[in-house]
Amino acid sequence: MNPENYLYLSALLFTLGACGVLLRRNAIVVFMCVELMLNAANLALVTFSRMHGNLDGQILAFFVMVVAAAEVVVGLAIIVTVYRSRHSASVDDASLMKL
């Protein structure tokens, strides 16, 4: 088997996550889909690392994880704050910034 299969899987997972972001209205689910996309990217990075025979890809994946963790913390805090004031976690409800 060629490790490129991992890349195909990564591409599919990434696309799935993107579709989830576009289709779901629950902010938490949207956020989970973003995490799915990040994970797909990580898989691709790890696979590249193996294919090229050095560890830089893994380092990059590590940084992605750290940043994703920070992002999750802040993002969930925002969701909680918004929910507290608007009693809704729907991303469509926060559509007031328009004419």
Binding site: P3, G17, L22, I59, M65, V67, R84
Partner: protein, 321 residues
């Protein structure tokens, strides 16, 4: 682990890895699909956790042992748990409608997704090579040691910066969710005094589900005339929209019981509920939307405790006059 290590060190993949991929890969895809398509957010979270675990296995088989462990501990363990906490906070049992509300969003999303997927796949296909290097050399001193030596030499600045980033994120999250209490919390005594002063709800609020023969906290208690009282349900559940509706059989039974009691006492037939109002208040008739169908009688009688049936009935009568 050593078997896995030898696997990744190879410059070609073994049959075992192929089997693992073809077994777990579709499972990971299914997990991703579930994340996107499940109506309940909790199920989505569980599907995502499954996918992440499978990805962790793939990391391991790709020679990224440290990352595989981190994936399980940090992602599946910490991040997904954080998601679940927030889900619990927001309302775990609520379901989302998957019906699209934005015009054309579905089709645009599908087109974009399909297009991007095809493009990526074709791009990978174009760039495919027959052979690869493998991590045998790079992992020779141990994967963790190799990562560490890179992280603390070439990537040390980025590493420090991510440390700062994490600190800022922690402080930011605390700041966002923190609510300053502007006044002292009222003691129980003060609350009671305030109730007396306002002359509202002097006795404790009625308990839920008294007449519904159901002890669930999310079922409203019924008033003497058979209409559900929202006051009986916890305000938090009400705010989340998680108040359950009373089954119409229960409502009918209450009415029958009431009538029987009246007959037994020789009182006029059903003084509380005139025919017209029963029809007007859909909640009593069919119980279809009992949660929201709080009628006039319900609101006027809601002041009285559910237990004091006679008193409430007279109240309702007075309110009508």
């Amino acid at each position: 682990m050593s078997a896995l290590a030898s696997l990744a060190a190879e410059t070609s993949t073994s049959t075992g890895e192929a089997a693992q991929f073809w077994l777990l890969g579709p499972l990971a895809l299914l997990g991703g699909l579930g994340t996107v398509l499940m109506r309940r957010a909790v199920y989505s979270a569980l599907c995502l956790a499954g996918t992440m675990v499978i990805l962790a296995l793939f990391y391991l088989s790709n020679g990224a042992y440290f990352l595989g462990m981190v994936q399980i501990v940090v992602y599946t363990g910490a991040v997904m748990m954080l998601f679940l906490f927030v889900l619990m906070l927001v309302g775990v049992s609520s379901t989302d409608s998957l019906k699209e509300t934005l015009k054309g969003q579905q089709w645009l999303a599908a087109a974009c997704g399909l297009g991007l997927g095809l493009l990526l796949v074709s791009g990978i296909g174009q760039a495919s090579t027959g052979s690869f290097t493998g991590l045998g050399q790079a992992n020779s001193g141990g994967n963790v040691q190799g990562l560490a030596s890179l992280l603390f030499t070439r990537y040390v600045v980025a590493f420090e910066v991510t440390g700062v980033l994490l600190t800022i994120a922690a402080v930011g999250a605390t700041l966002l969710t923190h609510r300053e209490r502007l006044e002292r919390a009222k003691s129980q005594r003060e609350q009671a005094e305030a109730r007396v002063r306002e002359n509202k709800h002097l006795p404790p609020l009625p308990a839920p589900g008294v007449y519904a023969r159901h002890n669930a906290v999310d079922l409203p208690g019924l008033l003497p005339d058979g209409s559900p009282s929202e006051l009986t349900v916890n305000p938090t559940l009400r705010a989340r929209g998680q108040m359950r509706e009373v089954h119409r059989d229960a409502l009918a039974a209450v009415r029958a019981l009431e009538q029987r009691t009246n007959r037994h006492h020789g009182r006029p037939e059903n003084p509380g509920i005139p025919a017209g109002q029963t029809n007007g208040n859909g909640a009593n008739g069919n119980g279809a939307d009992g949660v929201n169908g709080k009628g006039l009688a319900g609101s006027s009688a809601a002041d009285g405790p559910a237990g004091a049936a006679d008193e409430a009935a007279t109240d309702a009568e007075e309110a009508r006059k």
